[in-house]
């Protein structure tokens, strides 16, 4: 659990982070969204003390981070940055081994851990391991960066625009992979991004930051349903709010008894998927699969359209 208590950071009389209080629950992903200069990266860096707060304190599982030596604290916290920041003079494997090395793990344990992580992130240890960062593709470098951050089994992972340098196709895959990885490991993730779509896709909760303050801190559905300020609404964008809202809800929730023709919608499909399928196949009723994969009911167009408007 990460807890910010009335945290501020002042540079030259300007409060970059202004009296922020925030609690990030254990085992969740919290996405901090904001425009550049909103103070979101500064907030993130106060967790591992790359930035020291001017006022207030940051607690990690109840312990004041200021009471732990910075280097020890950082070795317990995973950190992923935008341009991956891989050490160019070290191989991918040695990059991943950085923190276990600093912690003085035995050689064999480090090697085993590097291998395990590379396999977990779909990197072939024998092929990618000995490569230098400049020999890696953007997606590979990003995954090596994540592996490096996870090497010493941190309970908290800080990610500063981790997908910023990836092209859209790879980015989507990387986001899906991250979500899976987080669910598998149960790591507490704090992710900073300027992309609201990314925050909605990944965040269990979203904190919207503007000028050093938190405008809204809520689950994605609530952010879309009831933007607290005009700024939040602007970040969401006017055009596709309904689709975003639909994309957060499972279609199965709308299932009512009955039957319909055509291919069955999978159980994990969202309402957005259902609407898209309807438009594309020219139907106004779709069969929806239950948890067992068999049709459990139908979903109608009218229900979908009603569900797309919160309230």
């Amino acid at each position: 659990m990460i807890r910010f208590e009335s945290v501020s950071k002042v540079y030259d009389g300007i409060a970059v982070v202004d009296d922020v209080s925030l609690t990030l629950e254990r085992g969740t992903i919290t996405a901090v969204v904001g425009t550049s200069g909103s103070g979101k990266s500064t907030l993130l860096r106060m967790v591992n003390r790359l930035v020291e707060p001017t006022a207030g304190r940051v607690l990690l599982d109840g312990t004041d981070t200021a009471s732990v030596p910075a280097a020890d604290l950082r070795r317990r916290i995973g950190y992923v940055i935008q341009d991956h920041g891989l050490f160019p003079h070290w191989t991918a494997a040695r990059n991943i081994a950085t923190v276990p090395g600093l912690l003085g793990w035995p050689r064999a344990a480090i090697d085993a851990r590097v291998r395990e992580l590379m396999l977990m992130l779909q990197l072939d240890p024998d092929v990618i391991g000995p490569r230098f960062p400049h020999e890696l593709s953007g997606g590979q470098a990003q995954r090596v960066g994540v592996a490096r951050a996870l090497a010493a089994r941190p309970e908290v992972l800080l990610m500063d625009e981790p997908f910023g340098a990836l092209d859209p196709v790879i980015r989507q895959q990387a986001q899906t992979d991250l979500r899976k990885l987080q669910q598998q490991l149960g790591t507490t993730v704090m992710l900073v991004t300027h992309d609201m779509a990314e925050a909605i896709r990944l965040g269990d909760r979203i904190a919207v930051m503007r000028a050093g303050r938190i405008d809204q801190f809520a689950p994605p559905a609530e952010i879309i349903a009831a933007p607290a300020t005009g700024f939040v609404a602007d970040l969401l964008g006017e055009g596709d709010r309904a689709f975003r809202y639909l994309s957060l809800q499972p279609a199965a929730r709308l299932a009512r008894p009955g039957a319909a023709d055509g291919p069955v919608l999978p159980a994990d499909a969202t309402m957005a998927d259902a609407l898209a399928e309807m438009i594309w196949s020219g139907r106004d009723r779709l069969p929806v699969a239950g948890p067992d994969g068999h049709p459990a009911g139908v979903c109608t167009r009218d229900d979908l359209i009603r569900a797309g408007r919160p309230g």
């Binding site: 910075a70 280097a71 950082r74 940055i81 341009d83 950085t98 230098f132 490096r148």
Partner: protein, 243 residues
């Protein structure tokens, strides 16, 4: 590639051949020597002079490099950051100072011999190495430096494991520039009675014996080119195998 290799080997063979058996070059050099004058410089052995010449360069450049790297590290730490602009300006200023002037001004302070040359080589050698080490340390990408801090490296670990290894190719490049200047200045050092290959050229100029000038000149030039080339190979090797 092979052409360069052959060139190197020929040059090396020529320099070594002259050092070991200068007399075999008499037929080539005789036209330059005035009648009745010796063709080959005979007041000291060429091996001896070459070793002195290189010895002066190494004895000056090694401490020069150590100090220059230390200074570059100091002004790139947070505590020394205040001296960074000044040290940059000073290096720029220092390089407008001709090496010969440093050499000549050291004579009144320490007298004739190897010392003024060593002092001049040491002082002048600082500048390119400091400049390059600074460029290397400042040039560490911000994301890499941030990652090192974020991983929990102490400042010392960051310096030894990340910053210095990344700056190394530029540092060696600086040493290469300093070494070439040092070879040149050490040759002039023979005007203040330091032992070096320059003494052959000076003797030739004083006695109007062009044979001495040519053999001393060729040998000094060959030495400089070989050292420059050799250190270039070191730089290339470091860059190829980043570690």
């Amino acid at each position: 590639m092979t052409g360069a290799l052959i060139g190197r080997l020929v040059l090396l063979a020529g320099v070594l051949g002259f050092i070991l058996a200068p007399d075999s070059f008499v037929p080539l050099l005789r036209p330059f020597a005035p009648d009745g004058m010796p063709v080959i410089y005979d007041r000291a052995g060429f091996g001896n002079l070459t070793l002195w010449h290189l010895g002066l360069v190494v004895a000056a450049i090694v401490p020069s490099a150590l100090l220059a790297i230390l200074l570059a590290v100091l002004v790139t730490r947070p505590r020394g950051a205040e001296f960074l602009p000044l040290s940059r300006a000073l290096v720029g200023f220092g390089q407008t100072f001709p090496p010969v002037a440093v050499l000549a001004l050291a004579v009144p302070v320490v007298g004739f011999g190897a010392w003024p040359t060593l002092i001049a080589l040491f002082l002048y050698g600082l500048l390119p190495i400091f400049e390059n080490a600074l460029a290397g340390l400042v040039g560490v990408p911000a994301s890499v430096a941030l990652a090192a801090d974020g991983m929990g490296m102490t400042p010392r670990q960051k310096l030894w494991q990340v910053e210095l290894p990344l700056a190394l190719p530029l540092v060696v490049e600086g040493i290469r520039i300093s070494a070439v200047i040092a070879i040149s200045t050490a040759a002039i050092g023979s005007t203040v009675a330091a032992r070096s290959l320059g003494e052959v050229i000076i003797a030739g100029l004083n006695a109007n014996n062009l044979s001495f000038v040519v053999q001393g000149g060729l040998l000094t030039a060959g030495l400089a080119v070989l050292v420059y080339d050799g250190l270039g190979l070191v730089v290339a090797a470091i860059r190829r195998r980043p570690r």
